[in-house]
Symmetry: C3
Subunit: 135 residues, 3 copies
């Protein structure tokens, strides 16, 4: 298992970590199997989506921000006293981790797919774990 360190610069941000994940896979020696990218945080998750047009992650974050306000739903406001209950929910909606196939020593991603750290309570320095299994 390898641990990556990923700095974030805004409260909500998708950071493309595909290159670091590919490097961790190469060091693992796994050629055929599965690779997990896991966020050990509760206000940042992992998602897989497009990073060709930067408007795609921007739009995804815009909807999440509009739909899940920091104050919580009207009539039943969030109570968590750190003021980041929205970030916890957003992290669970994206998922704490994503699993990908490995074939011929390569991460199997579609042409437009990137692996993102999904930050919802930055800026911070975040950690991601990369674990590969197989042969």
């Amino acid at each position: 298992m390898e641990t990556l360190s990923i700095p974030t610069t805004r409260r909500e941000q998708f950071v493309d970590v595909t290159a670091q994940v590919r490097q961790a896979l190469a060091r693992s020696g796994v050629r055929d199997g599965l690779l997990l990218v896991h966020s050990p945080h509760t206000t940042a998750g992992v998602t897989i989506n497009e990073n060709s047009d930067p408007d795609v992650p921007r739009d995804m974050l815009a909807w999440l921000r509009a739909a899940i306000p920091q104050a919580g739903p009207t009539g039943d406001p969030f109570r968590h006293d750190e003021g980041n209950a929205d970030a916890h929910l957003k992290a669970s909606l994206m998922g704490a981790g994503q699993t990908l196939p490995v074939r011929d020593g390569q991460l199997v991603l579609g042409t437009w797919q990137a692996v993102f750290l999904a930050e919802f309570d930055g800026p911070r320095t975040r950690t991601l774990h990369v674990q590969a299994v197989g042969r």
Copy 2:
């Protein structure tokens, strides 16, 4: 790893791929381990839910369509110029892939569970990767 080809016929559609996934598992020879179904697309994901009553996938799609309009949130419209930013977000909310247990050579699914390709920007011919690890 096996690659399945799945045609879709509507913009938004859940296509039950359970039978094809079971066949790919049988060909893999894995009897005890994990199986990943991965979508290499950014506007189609994978989810696991009920396919006994077709109203279940219908209702799930109805909520997603109402909650995530193609135009984006009021006051902060989507900018992605392909007009499918909603589909990118819906794919990430369902997940790019789902991992399932394998025991005695069988996919472990609950009585009512089916594996769906979750199409959000069809109709198209989509691809799914199936990768099993274990022994």
Copy 3:
């Protein structure tokens, strides 16, 4: 693979199953690899988030309840005749399962992370499958 039995006491509830998952891992003998926690249900999922402040799961459930009413979206109500279409959708949004890294025989979780059964149509007795792969 091990199967856990988890009683729930409310319609919507996050039940912390981290201790039972750790025990199942210990019995598996896997020291380095991946562990999957899978819900075989279609109205209960699995998510990873904070269980230090009970307001975090409370707030997450409050938003889901407000955003996804049992009746469905205004103008296009849910049709599934069991009246739990909302629970099916919530389960898919959280995910049917979560995969975690295993290192040195230990489940790799962040300081604040817990594994939750996410119940959306209880109270019931639910089942979770725990499957570890690796060496």
